[in-house]
């Protein structure tokens, strides 16, 4: 197993790391003291130099995003930590929020100083009840100690931080829907432009970053952008948290250096696929990226460029592994149910088309598929992608398209078996009872 540099998970297993005293004894809040002596613009330059790209899925350069914020508007600048981690297959931010909240807060403070922001918010998904208590407790400790509030760390910098809990909508992870939700409106994405950097929270300049992105900032300030850039590969600097799940022996969260071979990751870190089974496919970046068949995974590395060249995307590294026991029709039905349920309902193609596709997938899965269904889905994907207000529609069609292209045989077999009158051996999945059983397990 390769030894990966640990920036984010360095202290994650340490006893009591979520408590200020313990975290500080291991070096927390050292960097912010250094940062506060630096010129804010210098920090932005360092972050730009580091090559850090947003870890929420889009991979937009963090430093560049910060540099878009106008500085002389007379309006306050807001910093928002997007902790609405809702992408299916992703659970990395949860670990940071739960076990090392002071790393997250320090990262936010550094970013706030760089942006000269006096108010920041952690928008945390509503289901993260336990992480919420940990983060809130950490913020309370900071206020008590004077690390948040007026004149922090003996400077004249003032910064306030609040936690806002979401109410369970996937779309509120989209930054403008998040802003609407935060303003007390319905969580629906806004038309762009204007972009949040110019007119975001209450029409003020706003920066929205992912938890993992912000947690990288202390390392970059402490060691310089170059040091960060030296980790990983070109265009994909630093380390990446991967949420590994599915048919593997050791599911979990791994911090790997960018550019690490995908197959090595499955074999070494994840302990390989379940015994007696072979790898069928991987969804590497969270559910909204194209699926990769086993044979496509060979020679591909876990970084932005390599994944892109392989026809998929690193996304936020929600790494879902499927072995040959997987019913791909059922798998994509599961995804389409998620997307149609989570469509905000604002614009026509996604609102109507998403459900239409789900209904077709369900029909195929339940043994009522018809010739032409796959063509229809393909056509609907084209009608949705590129025609919606936000990226939800664009990304929703990526797994659909790739599943029916790459598993055409399986889909066609299912449809033709039906036509031949062959009974398919499977019990239709009942999502409602599934939800109930998960709920009652707790």
């Amino acid at each position: 197993m390769a030894k990966h540099k640990q920036i984010l998970l360095k202290n994650i297993r340490e006893e009591g790391q979520h408590l200020l005293e313990k975290a500080e004894s291991r070096g927390a809040y050292k960097v912010i003291r250094k940062a506060l002596e630096m010129d804010p613009l210098k920090i932005i330059d360092e972050v730009k130099n580091s090559g850090l790209r947003g870890r929420g899925g889009a991979g937009f350069p963090t430093g560049l995003k910060w540099s878009f914020v106008p500085r002389d508007t007379g309006k306050p600048v807001y910093l928002i930590n997007n902790a609405d981690e809702s992408e299916p297959g992703t659970f990395k931010d949860r670990l940071l929020l739960e076990n090392d909240p002071h790393l997250v807060i320090e990262g936010m403070l550094c970013a706030a100083w760089a942006l000269q922001s006096e108010w920041s918010c952690i928008y945390i998904r509503g289901e993260y009840a336990y992480p919420y208590t940990r983060v809130q407790a950490a913020i309370d400790e900071c206020y008590e100690k004077g690390y948040l509030g007026e004149n922090i760390f003996g400077t004249n910098f003032t910064h306030h931080m609040v936690v806002h809990r979401g109410a369970g909508a996937y779309i509120c992870g989209e930054e403008t829907a998040l802003l609407n939700s935060l303003e007390g409106k319905k969580g629906q994405p806004r038309l762009k432009p204007p972009f949040p950097a110019v007119a975001g929270y209450y029409a003020c300049p706003t920066v929205i970053n992912n938890v993992e992105s912000l947690s990288n900032i202390p390392f970059i300030i402490e060691n310089g952008g170059e040091a960060y850039k030296s980790i990983g590969v070109e265009n994909s600097a630093g380390t990446k948290l991967v949420s590994a799940s599915g048919h593997i022996n050791k599911p979990g969260i791994y911090e790997i250096e960018m550019g690490y071979p995908l197959m090595d990751f499955i074999e070494d870190e994840c302990g390989g696929v379940r015994d007696g089974h072979n790898l069928l496919a991987v969804i590497p970046g969270g559910s909204s990226v194209p699926v990769m068949r086993a044979e496509e995974c060979k020679g591909v590395n876990l970084d932005y460029d390599s994944m892109k060249n392989a026809g998929s995307s690193l996304g936020c590294a929600g790494f879902m592994v499927m072995d040959d026991s997987t019913d791909v029709v059922e798998a994509v039905l599961n995804l389409s149910h998620f997307y149609s349920h989570e469509s905000c309902g604002q614009c026509t193609p996604c609102r109507e088309g998403g459900h239409w596709i789900e209904k077709i997938f369900r029909r195929i899965a339940e043994g009522n598929g018809m010739p032409g269904d796959l063509k229809l889905i393909e056509s609907l994907c084209n009608q949705i992608g590129g025609h919606t207000i936000c990226a939800f529609g664009d990304t929703m069609v990526l797994p659909y398209r790739s599943f029916i292209q790459k598993f055409e045989k399986e889909f066609k077999e299912r449809i033709s078996n039906v036509l031949k009158g062959v009974e398919h051996e499977r019990v239709p999945m009942d999502f409602q009872s599934e939800l109930v059983s998960i709920g009652s397990a707790h």
């Binding site: 469509s343 609102r351 459900h355 209904k359 025609h387």
Partner: protein, 553 residues
């Protein structure tokens, strides 16, 4: 400061528009219709229907016309020259209709529905949707006036934005997500603002309907006319739908300078009040309170006394400008001694009403002032004059009274017993239309008048805008236009002042004779109205002509 202009091409045609204009409006200037549902020029832009997607050179994907501002050098393609745009429009329509119940056969919107229109124009292909449609609540009352059919709704949010942004009452919103999204009234509230019916006009489909007019008639059995609401002096532009002599629906018409596309509930749902059911269709004389039919020419003969002193002429504020002008002539020629007074009274308005409604029931008091009848500096003086005249009437200062129009007394004064008594004592002549009017018992001679809905003519609103209102219902047989009654009275008193044979004749001869409106044509007035304060023959587009400007032989 001159507006900054930008030059762009749309479908390879160059066009100049003010900076900040969106592409829908820019295309309109070239006569190209870009289809849309959610966009409205006077509401915020949500960009949710996706009908107005256009191709912009250099953009990675299609852009929505409502949210994209015209920029210098921009190259835009609409459905006329771009297959991608055509496909997107067809696709949007297919999507929008999959969960729509397609119940056009029983839908009030059928025939004036944007879904139907656009489907025929931009898609017209059969649906590929074979699945079960989503079902949603039907016939949900949102309030006193409006009914919702959630299945027909396309979630364009025009109604929601209207209540949020214009009336600022916020009673309705969207609930749920995805294709379960539904318009709903906030808990414990109902859609009850003074402009609530406007949301039905704004609804591009049949989701919102008027409780008062649902399942009333198919729109293609009606005749529609462009009229001006006579409810108050705002002069809202309306489209009136008539069937069998009855008003079956009233819609707001877009006029940037007057009512945007809004209309108050009182004006809309009360439109029928200008068309009483019990009509006076012949001349009447009243003996001991009982109206008895009499010969019209006989009735006119009893009017000679009007020229004697102590005569009061009470004018409805809902006569047309042309009629006030005739009255000015009548005053000069035969009734120099009479007092001319317009029934003008102000009233209290609620906050929402103030957005649109004027504090009066006097559609054309400005028209009376324009004609110099009576002379008054402002609304206050006008009201004073009227109340003073009523005071004098009560103490018996007038021996003869002429009432012109059903609203020659303000609504609050009609039931005043003292006034009724005073009118009873005087020799009172009324040009009225309503057989159930409370005035009838105190009038000696009644001349059968048409109502404002049966006549066409010019009105001037509170904002000094001259507008043209077309007759929206056919006149009841026997009832005469008020201008003709004025003419006949004048003839009786010895001078011929009316030669017109129709409303249009009268309007044309008025426009021809009025120096202050020199060169103005009916067509120009019809196009959104003309401000009389700033009008000059040069400023008006004299090239605007339509056949209605020709005097019919």
């Amino acid at each position: 400061m001159a507006e900054e202009l930008v030059t762009l091409t749309i479908d390879e045609q160059e066009v100049q528009v003010p900076k900040g204009t969106n592409l829908i409006e820019a295309a309109k200037q070239l006569g190209t219709e870009v289809p849309y549902y959610c966009y409205h020029p006077h509401l915020s832009v949500p960009g949710n229907c996706r009908m107005c997607q256009l191709e912009v050179e250099g953009a990675p994907k299609l852009m929505v016309g409502c949210h994209t501002q015209a920029q210098d050098g921009m190259k835009v393609r609409t459905q006329r020259t771009s297959q991608a745009v055509k496909d997107a429009q067809a696709s949007t329509l297919e999507m929008i209709l999959i969960n729509h119940p397609l119940d056009c056969t029983v839908c009030d919107q059928a025939g004036h529905c944007k879904l139907q229109d656009y489907h025929y124009e931009y898609n017209a292909k059969p649906s590929r949707f074979l699945e079960q449609k989503e079902h949603k609540p039907k016939a949900v009352p949102l309030g006193e006036t409006v009914m919702l059919d959630a299945e027909r709704c396309i979630a364009c949010t025009r109604c929601v934005r209207f209540c949020d942004e214009v009336t600022e009452t916020g009673e309705i919103g969207l609930v749920n997500r995805g294709d379960r999204v539904t318009i709903a009234v906030k808990e414990g509230h109902e859609l009850s603002n003074a402009l609530s019916g406007t949301v039905v006009d704004l609804c591009p489909v049949g989701a919102l309907t008027h409780k008062k007019w649902r399942f009333n008639t198919r729109i293609w059995y009606t005749k529609s006319t462009d009229a001006i609401c006579p409810g108050c002096s705002t002069g809202c532009n309306v489209k009136v739908y008539e069937r069998d002599g009855q008003v079956v629906q009233v819609k707001a018409r877009l006029n940037e300078d007057v009512n945007k596309e809004w209309l108050c509930d009182e004006g809309r749902y009360g439109f029928g009040r200008f068309l009483p059911e019990l009509r006076i269709t012949e001349a009447l004389t009243c003996e001991s309170g009982q109206p008895v039919p009499c010969d019209y020419t006989e009735a006119l003969k009893g009017l000679s006394s009007l020229s004697s002193p102590k005569t009061l002429v009470l004018l409805s504020p809902q006569l047309f400008v042309e009629e006030y002008a005739l009255l000015t002539a009548l005053k000069e020629k035969a009734l120099a001694n009479a007092s001319f007074v317009v029934a003008y009274r102000e009233r209290e308005l609620s906050d929402v009403e103030k957005i649109l409604v004027s504090p009066d029931y006097a559609a054309n008091y400005k028209g009376a002032l324009f004609a110099g009848l009576p002379e008054a500096a402002d609304e206050k003086a006008l009201e004073d004059k009227y109340t003073r005249a009523l005071g004098q009437l009560k103490v018996g200062a007038f021996d003869q009274v002429l009432l012109l129009g059903d609203h020659a007394l303000a609504p609050v004064d009609i039931d005043d017993k003292e006034i009724q008594e005073a009118l009873g004592k005087a020799h009172t002549v009324g040009a009225l239309s309503h057989l159930g009017s409370a005035l009838l018992s105190s009038v000696d001679v009644v001349l059968p008048a048409q109502t404002i809905l049966e006549q066409s003519g010019l009105l001037i609103n509170r904002g000094d805008r001259l507008q043209y209102s077309s007759a929206s219902v056919p006149a009841v047989k026997g009832a005469l236009p008020i201008w003709r009654i004025i003419g006949d009275i004048s003839k009786q008193l010895g001078s011929e002042i009316v030669s017109a044979r129709s409303d249009r004749d009268l309007t044309l001869s008025y426009l021809g004779a009025e120096k202050r409106l020199e060169g103005l044509t009916i067509a120009q007035v019809k196009k959104g109205g003309v401000c009389i304060k700033t009008y000059s023959p040069q400023s008006a587009g004299a090239d605007v002509k339509d056949p209605s400007d020709e005097v019919r032989a």
